[in-house]
Subunit: 120 residues, 2 copies
């Protein structure tokens, strides 16, 4: 089955981590496919734990979506390295590392709709 | 005139800051209204400089959009405090502090479209 893992940085503030988990749940509701959240640091599940959870839940294709705005070290090195390790450990899974949120097509349009939709 | 200021954290990596400025330019192209970027730290213009630029360029209404995912200290304290100071310095301007990107309506839907639109 096709699964999505949303990877966030993780925060010392529980509310920030809970917002990411709620976002993954909202995505799962809309998509009708399993969506989980995992965190690079400071929160659980870790990325490795999140990947294991997806595979234990039956993922045959696992897409990884970095919930990051900036193309910094986390997006360019840390997350690809962790995903690469997981690919070697689980060769039976089809993997896809999506572009991070900050590189999503039409993010400008989404921000403009957010601007226009916000009540005065 | 109505202006939008997109506020990002700012990074030591020039590419991250340039991506934010390019995003503001893409928004301005689509919106047909002035959109600028400013940075909380590590990059220029600062938030205060960005606000001054908008006002010098004729902003009578200035909307502030925090380009942040997490509702942490920057979103909940630092940016509101800076905007509050600017409001007191420029009472002739109509101000609006929008919810940060991570709280935008239907962010889940946008992320799902990003997932579905990414080629295999």
């Amino acid at each position: 089955m096709h699964h999505l893992l949303l990877i966030a940085h993780g925060s010392r503030r529980a509310a920030s981590n809970e917002a990411v988990i709620a976002l993954a749940e909202a995505m799962q509701q809309s998509a009708g496919l399993p969506v989980r959240a995992a965190f690079l640091e400071l929160a659980e599940p870790s990325i490795s734990e999140g990947i294991e959870q997806c595979i234990l839940a039956g993922a045959r294709q696992l897409d990884i979506l970095p919930y990051f705005l900036a193309p910094g070290r986390h997006v360019q090195e840390d997350i690809p390295n962790l995903v690469s390790q997981a690919m070697h450990s689980h060769p039976q899974v089809t993997w896809r590392l999506l572009p991070h949120l900050g590189a999503a097509r039409d993010l400008a349009g989404f921000l403009l709709r957010h601007w226009q939709d916000t009540p005065p």
